[in-house]
Subunit: 251 residues, 2 copies
DNA sequence: CTTACACCTTTACGTTACGTTAATGTCAAG
DNA sequence: CTTGACATTAACGTAACGTAAAGGTGTAAG
């Protein structure tokens, strides 16, 4: 019953991997067979199985095989330190996922109209014509878009031009023509406030919370970020900071 | 100032990627230049930039470029649906990371001796000799291991054999020789209780909370899982369930 | 003995999203 | 004219296998 040896398929099945994996581990000197018989067959044993499952354990933790080999082969390896380092990288990953999920949620929310902030403002604060075709193509199947289109259409062409120009001026002021300005500067904050009023006047009613979300999305969505960044590199991030500051100080 | 066209380096810099990326996107028909001049230079324009940043937006969300192409090219694409699906996958990833972090923490805890549960029990509940060389190689630099080694060495060889045999018997009973048994069955629970006492008697003192953690680790670490699973497929998971049930009902 | 079938072997290309040379051409400035 | 910054294509490398392709081996059944 003991001194049992296994074929490649047997340990592969026991460990829940394919034979390809086992051969690959052989190839990269991660797990060598205990013997190669005359016919070329690889032979493994109990200790191979343990080692293999040890490998699987670390692989499950997303450690690259290279690192695993170090762990397996070097007796003086500082296990705790390695695991702690790996823990850190896992946490970084997690934080990133957290961020992505938030951005994603905001995007979805804005698309489905939750928080009664349509993609109206989202799409029409800038030059309308430039985005129209694309916007229709991509968001045309949401009812909010149709609705906002109608509202916008209710303005006369002259009005539309005026509104757009006004918006663009405010945006320029927000981004801050002089590169030395800080998001907290009085004139920047003044412009942010006016832009907030502007959106409220000509578009949807929105409160500070939604305003803040909007700003986050301007940065998150590159089509808008590009508009800000074209005015000044880092413009989008700057605007977000300015809006955040504004919202924090106007509760 | 308008009708501006960009070179490959310019848009690459504006989008924060390398020119290689831009060429690659050209190659896979994700983002084609608006024109290729006589000298072979690629030419891009404003809309290219927007499209590129749109791509970056989705890439940031970890969508494969293949999917991004679908999104970009197909006007009738159901955005919300796609994003929701992607959200799900991100959440799955997050849950997995959560699990990994917990396992990792437990492993680290056990190694550093937090919760005063040394890797003693962890390594010596089974056949000691089989693991010794490996265990020393991998955990030899932790003070707890040395300590537990000394304790174990204080037993006479006969005692050691008896203790091991006793443990193995209990393990066999826990895993449940008959496949029909459930983790909650009285005789299984009886064996779990005896094993708990056994560990307390011959090894470290441990409470139910630590006992539960130990069980989790038996499953998480394949070297132990293998021991249970060798007795019966799914044995490790079975033991964990049994121990969890035991701990839940013995507060 | 043959046949079937499951298993074993090596070789080698495909995958993803680029990074990294290598070898060469182009353009504007000094 | 040279220099330096830019452009081009071609091609190999990455991580961890999946997936044939082409062929050898072992065993059980007919």
């Amino acid at each position: 019953m003991s001194d049992s040896t296994y074929t490649i398929k047997q340990i592969a099945d026991m460990a829940g991997v394919t034979t390809r994996t086992i051969r690959y581990y052989d190839q990269i000197d991660l797990l060598k067979p205990v013997e190669i018989r005359a016919n070329g067959y690889r032979t493994y044993d109990q200790s191979s199985l343990l080692k293999l499952q040890q490998i699987m354990f670390f692989r499950e933790l997303d450690l690259p095989l290279e690192d695993i080999r170090s762990i397996i082969n070097r007796p003086d390896f500082d296990m705790v330190d390695a695991l702690n380092k790996h823990r850190l990288s896992l946490q970084t990953q997690q934080n990133r996922l957290q961020r992505l999920l938030r951005t994603l949620d905001q995007t979805i929310d804005s698309l489905t109209g939750t928080g009664r902030m349509g993609e109206k403002d989202y799409f029409e604060g800038f030059d309308h014509s430039e985005y129209e075709e694309e916007a229709r193509a991509r968001w045309g199947n949401t009812s909010q878009y149709v609705e906002s289109q109608q509202k916008w259409a209710s303005y006369s062409p002259q009005q539309q031009e005026d509104i757009k120009a006004q918006g663009n001026q405010l945006i320029s002021r927000m981004v801050g023509a002089d590169a030395g300005a800080a998001p907290e500067d009085a004139d920047i904050q003044q412009a942010v406030g006016e832009y907030f009023d502007y959106l409220n006047r000509y578009f949807y009613t929105l409160d500070l919370k939604i305003f803040r979300n909007l700003a986050d999305m301007w940065v998150a969505d590159p089509r808008f970020a590009a508009n800000y960044d074209r005015i000044r590199p880092g413009g989008a991030a700057f605007v977000r900071e300015a809006v955040h500051y504004y919202c924090n100080h106007h509760t």
